[in-house]
């Protein structure tokens, strides 16, 4: 009996500890991409934290909801399946950053870039340096990213006005896989930040967070 209890305890312990390890090991993380050029890559640090919490609450994905940033030139980027970049101004990548990001994306990494208003022309210039032979392709509304788990019949949501143009989502594909997703005139990440920052209506924030869920799921499952 004694032995049985001991073994049972050991087994139960192993099960729980392995699941705990599994949980920690499998926790989904997002890193903010720190890039050169002078833009405010760091702005609104509550964005991905709130998104990760929302993802954990509304899906079965377990997340590590902490703000983290990682240097584009550092090999630390390979520790993250999902990188997020945003900003308002100039992005000018060094050669090291370019080659690092290229390798990361080619090896299966996912980069989401959100124009926070003012990043567009710089990002377009830099992405061409990373992938000179690829073009940013606008995704049609029936693309899988806009379908599950929440439907976005008109593509990315219009969270902030910016220039009042239509919101657009662009992609760079590597062997048919969406490796880079870029939103323009949409700004979902502003909808993820704490409510008092931009004072957006709750339904807009909800919409942005739902869109973020779609993004995360697509990045992980495509």
């Amino acid at each position: 009996m004694k032995y049985f209890l001991v073994w049972a305890a050991i087994i139960i312990f192993l099960i729980f500890s392995s699941s705990e390890f599994a949980q920690n090991g499998d926790l989904f993380k997002i890193a903010r991409l720190k890039y050169s050029g002078g833009s405010d890559w760091y702005n609104d640090p509550s964005a991905e934290v709130n998104l990760l919490n929302y993802v954990a609450e509304h899906t079965t994905i377990k997340t590590d909801a902490k703000y983290r940033f990682v240097d584009a030139a550092s090999t630390d980027i390979f520790d993250y399946p999902f990188l997020f970049a945003t900003g308002h101004g100039n992005m000018r990548l060094t050669e090291k950053e370019i080659s690092n990001l290229r390798e990361y994306l080619k090896k299966g990494g996912f980069l989401y870039v959100d124009d926070d208003y003012g990043l567009d022309k710089y990002f377009r210039r830099e992405i061409k340096r990373i992938f000179p032979d690829k073009k940013l392709v606008e995704l049609p509304f029936d693309y899988g990213l806009y379908q599950k788990p929440y439907k976005f019949p008109y593509g990315p949501p219009k969270i902030h006005k910016h220039n009042g143009k239509a919101p657009q989502g662009f992609g760079i594909f590597i062997n048919g896989r969406l490796a880079v997703y870029y939103t323009y005139e949409s700004n979902p990440s502003d909808g993820w930040v704490d409510p008092e920052v931009h004072k957006d209506p709750p339904e807009k924030r909800e919409e942005a967070l739902k869109f973020g869920v779609n993004l995360v799921l697509w990045a992980l499952t495509q």
């Binding site: 720190k34 208003y117 902030h160 239509a166």
Partner: protein, 1114 residues
């Protein structure tokens, strides 16, 4: 003479003659007989022709003919034959001699007689007589008499021959005679009676080119029938079939057989009469059996060539070269590309093949014409179209600059362009010219600068910094510039597109400042107006609030409308203040661009922005919304509560506005000081330039220009004096400003008489008294230097003095707060030690009320202080507000005799007072450390300072690395450790303060982690562990400090960055993602075009289009 011999001779000759004549007679009779036979035959043929006997009749005729021919023979030739074979007797000789005698009158019958005599028949005559007669006769004879003369027979022969010939010809050439003769000859053959008419087809045997037409004429001879039918049999048929029936009354008809493709035979038939069968042979013309067209677009397009098979319709770019290669069904003599409106181009031929090329220069059409070795051309060659596509104009979009440029201090202009073209570019230029200038001559022509582009791309974003230094732009210079983009069309010549023309202008500082001042004064007026309206609104709110205090449960419609309008007014005011905030931000941006503002003033503007954000707070918005929603249910209680809340917010709004106006005015005052400093500095620079130029201008070439510049400087100096005076007046109306000092400075400035000095210098220059002018200029420079320094001192004094005053007042307030907190604590203890009864409760509440009143005094002081400095933060206000509320609650609890609540409220009040005091102390510390009263700005500065210190430390550590550790180095390490520890402690304190103020969220970098790393570094330094890992940690620390410092800087207000919530959007989806490569797509399109050109019916074309579409979609 020998009689016998002569006689023999004569006889011989006569015999010969007779024989010849008999022979000739024989032949002549033969011919005559022949002629007679012919005539007879003709005769009988005529009879046959007339009567058309049957075979038996003809048999009789022929027998008769034979009979008569025989008879004729006997009659004509019989006698001559007999004679021919009859022996020639003496009688014959004598007869012939008689004939000779008839012909020759001399001879007469002498010869005959002689012959008679010689014959011996007459023996009565003597031999001599006979001889003499003979000799006489001989003498009379000529040779010709005994010579055979064929001429005698010629005429007979001729006549006979003619008659015979005529007869024969008649029989041969006259068809009826011929036919009759034929029938007569074939007497035993039954002949059908010749028809009344005959039909002939013409041409009888023809050769036509396949596809050609042939006109067949049908002619009747004789009495033509009413109709004639044509029967035809072509090469594939075995039987003739009727193909046409034509009217034939006139005896002539024609039939056009079109597009003959097979050889055929044809005959005509009319009333049983059949014509001869004609034969028409069809031969093939040459035709193009297959060809390939390869189109090579012009080289500059870098487009690949493409081929088309059996489709000559060309859609290509102008200048493309098209290569043809094909084959025909026959050996060729020549091949041409024949254009509709151009000269034909020959292609080379070899056997059945052709090869060559053309260049596409204009739209049109063409045919491939081939000629075979027999000279036949191909029939109905297909007309192919040539459609030239355009090399489109390039596209140029100017992203930056967005509008005309007013330069500040910058010497470069960022340019961002988006360029695109279907085939590429050749050149991009920036073209500029000086259009207006005070001192330089404007240029008519544009100068062109080449902007580097990637000519291999069809689309590019251009980022270019236009360096303005070479232009040496001076104040009031205006340049016009535009961009021009050229494509690489080397066929028609590069096409270009120009952007709109922008202007680049360097306004004089004075103009700019004047404009700016005007705008800012207007902003102040608008703020004041808004405040005035807010005050009016306060009264309105008050009245409405009083009016709401009625007994009725529901509010009336009128009341509702009044409340609604009042709320709307407040909302409008809030919006106005928001707009003013943007206005002021734009003004600040312009001033910053011109480098007019000092760093301190800039910081204050940022603080002002933040303050203005708080005017239009979230709570105000919520209060307005709440009011709107409560008005819907029309319940008085709800409306009253909402009104009260709105009043509070209105009050907060008004107070914030007041504070804003006050602080803005103070900022403007500081700004004016900054402007004075800037003006002085600019004037100083300008004067130096002029002075240096005068020194260099020994020849006096630029004298006039320099004189003018000096004169302009005088105006600026006068303006400077004026501004100094204005500032002095401005400061005199403000509290806590160095009024006297400014007044003194202004007077000093006026006493320097700088405008007069400048004017004198100008005059001296004009009078060519350069040395004197330079003297004045030197004096002026000295004055300006002095004044510049004094102004800078004044600038520092202004902010220093203000800060000092603020700190003093703050210290006083802190003292008061601490005292108040202590009194509150004492009261709390008193409240706690006594049991609640009426008297005690009343006493407690009265004392608490006193504290509350003192609290109000402090709040007033603070309020007054807040109008002078940004150091009073909303957090402080909240803390004091909290203290006040708790005091009020303590009073109510005391009146309710709720001792526990009293103490709790007093405790909360105390804590809030302490918090406020602490915050103010911390703020004072920051100010004392020279970091101004800027809240987050000071945090940023501190981080920056720390980052600077860390950088130094890192460098020192780096330098120490390598080599062994000497005593000195060990000591150094310890010092470094100490410095790192110091930085760590500062950061620790900063972090704590930032957390306390709630602003640590803004720091992107995780300062906790930085602090940990700093600890590790300190430990390593103390242990003298100087390795790469240590350096890496220090680098990491520095990086994080810099990140933290950058992240703390508030973003400047820019209209662009306004986060206005977007509206719902719906639109059309972009097309499907094309993962296939372009070439495949292009090929599909080409195939579709080819298929469309094949000449299918519309239905088929649609099917083909659908098919290709589905392929494309795949």
């Amino acid at each position: 003479m020998n009689r016998n011999k002569s006689y023999a001779d004569i006889e011989k000759r006569l015999r010969s003659l007779i024989f010849k004549e008999r022979t000739a007679d024989f032949f002549l009779s033969g011919i005559r007989w022949f002629t007679a036979a012919v005539v007879l035959f003709l005769f009988f043929s005529l009879i046959e022709a007339l009567f058309r006997f049957s075979s038996s009749g003809r048999t009789i005729l022929i027998l008769l003919f034979v009979f008569f021919v025989l008879a004729a023979f006997l009659f004509i030739s019989g006698r001559t034959i007999l004679l021919l074979f009859k022996k020639i007797r003496l009688n014959d000789l004598i007869s012939r001699a008689e004939l000779i005698g008839k012909d020759n009158r001399k001879v007469k019958d002498e010869l005959a007689n002689v012959l008679d005599l010689v014959s011996g028949e007459y023996n009565d005559f003597s031999a001599d007589l006979i001889e003499a007669a003979f000799i006489r006769a001989l003498d009379l004879l000529s040779d010709d008499d005994l010579k055979f003369n064929p001429r005698n027979y010629l005429s007979g022969l001729r006549d006979s021959a003619l008659i015979a010939l005529a007869g024969i010809l008649f029989l041969m050439l006259i068809p009826p005679a011929r036919s009759a003769a034929n029938r007569l000859i074939n007497y035993d053959v039954e002949f059908v009676s010749p028809p009344e008419f005959s039909v002939v087809l013409m041409p009888q045997n023809a050769v036509v080119i396949k596809g050609d037409s042939l006109k067949i004429n049908i002619v009747a001879s004789g009495k033509p029938p009413g109709r004639v039918s044509l029967f035809e049999k072509d090469a594939d048929q075995t039987e003739f079939e009727k193909v046409k029936s034509l009217p034939f009354d006139s005896g002539k008809a024609a039939f056009l057989k079109r597009k003959i493709f097979l050889s055929f035979k044809m005959f005509a038939k009319a009333e049983g009469i059949i014509s001869d069968t004609i034969s028409v042979k069809v031969i093939n013309p040459p035709s193009v059996s297959g060809f390939t067209v390869e189109v090579f677009p012009p080289e500059y397009t870098r487009e690949k060539s493409f081929k088309q098979y059996d489709n000559g319709n060309l859609t290509a770019l102008k200048g493309s070269r098209v290569f043809f290669s094909g084959r025909t069904n026959k050996k060729l003599d020549s091949c041409l590309i024949k254009f509709k409106f151009q000269k034909a181009v020959p292609l080379k031929v070899k056997g059945e093949k052709f090869l060559g090329s053309i260049k596409l220069n204009k739209n049109g059409s063409y045919r491939i014409m081939v000629k075979d070795t027999a000279g036949n051309m191909n029939r109905f060659p297909i007309e192919y179209s040539i459609e030239l596509t355009d090399d489109a104009y390039p596209k140029l979009e100017v992203i930056e600059p967005e509008k005309d440029i007013e330069l500040g201090n910058e010497d470069t202009v960022p340019v961002i362009l988006k360029i695109s073209d279907d085939y590429g570019f050749s050149k991009l230029t920036l073209n500029y010219r000086l259009s207006a200038s005070e001192f330089k001559k404007p240029s008519e022509k544009f100068t062109s600068l080449s902007i580097p582009i990637n000519k291999r791309e069809n689309e590019e974003d251009i980022f270019y910094e236009w360096n303005l230094r070479p232009l040496k732009i001076e104040v009031n210079d205006r340049y016009l510039f535009y961009f021009e983009l050229f494509d690489n069309d080397y066929v028609s010549g590069p096409k270009s597109v120009k952007s709109k023309t922008f202007s680049l202008f360097l306004p004089p500082l004075e103009d700019f400042l004047a404009k700016s001042e005007k705008e800012q004064n207007q902003s102040v007026k608008k703020l004041e107006k808004t405040l005035k309206e807010a005050k009016k609104l306060k009264d309105e709110f008050q009245k409405l609030s009083s009016d709401l205090k009625k007994n009725k449960a529901k509010i009336s419609w009128e009341e509702k409308e009044k409340l609604k309008k009042a709320a709307e007014k407040l909302e409008k005011l809030a919006k106005k203040s928001e707009e003013l905030k943007k206005e002021i931000a734009e003004q600040r941006k312009k001033l910053q661009k011109k480098n007019v503002l000092s760093e301190k003033t800039l910081k204050k503007y940022s603080e002002l922005q933040k303050l203005m954000s708080e005017i239009n707070s979230e709570t105000l918005k919520k209060a307005l919304e709440k009011m709107q929603s409560k008005l819907e249910n029309m319940m008085r209680d709800d409306a009253q509560k909402a009104m009260e809340e709105l009043k509070k917010n209105e009050e907060a709004f008004r107070k914030s506005l007041e504070r804003t106006i006050s602080l803005f005015k103070r900022i403007l005052a500081e700004q004016k000081m900054d402007e004075l400093v800037k003006r002085t500095s600019e004037i100083e620079k300008a004067q130096k330039k002029i002075s240096d130029a005068v020194k260099r201008d020994s020849s006096g070439k630029n004298r006039d220009e320099l004189t003018q510049k000096q004169a302009d400087l005088s105006k600026r100096l006068r303006e400077l004096e004026k501004k100094g005076k204005e500032l002095s007046e401005m400061l005199s109306k403000m509290e806590d400003m160095p009024k006297e000092e400014m007044k003194k400075l202004s007077e000093e400035l006026q006493n320097q008489k700088n405008p007069e000095l400048s004017q004198k210098a100008a005059e001296k220059m004009m009078e060519d008294k350069v040395q004197q002018a330079m003297q004045n200029q030197r004096k002026l420079m000295k004055n300006l230097k002095q004044m510049s320094q004094k102004m800078k001192n004044m600038q520092s004094m202004m902010s220093g003095q203000m800060q000092q005053k603020v700190m003093t007042e703050m210290a006083r307030v802190i003292q008061e707060l601490i005292k108040l907190s202590k009194r509150e604590e004492a009261l709390k203890q008193e409240a706690g030690s006594n049991s609640p009864d009426n008297k005690r409760s009343k006493e407690i509440s009265e004392k608490q009320n006193n504290l509350l009143n003192d609290m109000d005094v402090i709040l007033k002081q603070l309020n007054s202080l807040s109008k002078k400095t940004f150091a009073i933060t909303p957090e402080m206000g909240k803390a004091l507000g909290k203290a006040k509320n708790n005091m009020r609650r303590a009073i109510s609890s005391a009146l309710d005799k709720n001792g526990r609540n009293v103490m709790r409220n007093q405790q909360s009040a105390m804590a809030a007072l302490n918090d406020a005091a602490n915050m103010m102390s911390a703020m004072m510390n920051q100010m004392a450390n020279g970091q101004g009263g800027g809240g987050m700005m000071s945090l940023s500065q501190q981080l920056k300072k720390m980052a600077g210190e860390q950088m130094q430390l890192n460098q020192m550590t780096q330098q120490m690395k390598g080599g062994g550790m000497s005593m000195k180095q060990a000591a150094m390490m310890k010092r470094l450790a100490g410095r790192q520890e110091a930085i760590r402690k500062s950061l620790e304190e900063l972090n704590r303060e930032a957390k306390a103020s709630g602003k640590s969220k803004k720091i992107a970098s995780n300062l906790e982690r930085v602090l940990e790393q700093m600890k590790e570094v300190v430990s390593d330094l103390q242990s003298q562990n100087l390795d790469d890992e240590l350096l890496k940690k220090q680098q990491n620390i520095l990086s994080r400090l810099l990140d933290a410092q950058r992240s703390v800087n508030d973003r400047d207000y820019e209209k662009k960055r306004e986060s206005e919530t977007g509206k719902m959007w719906s639109g059309k989806s972009p097309g499907k993602i094309d993962f296939s490569d372009k070439e495949k797509k292009t090929n599909l399109e080409k195939e579709l075009l080819k298929a469309e050109q094949e000449g299918y019916s519309r239905d088929y074309k649609e099917l083909i289009k659908k098919y290709y579409r589905s392929l494309k979609e795949k």
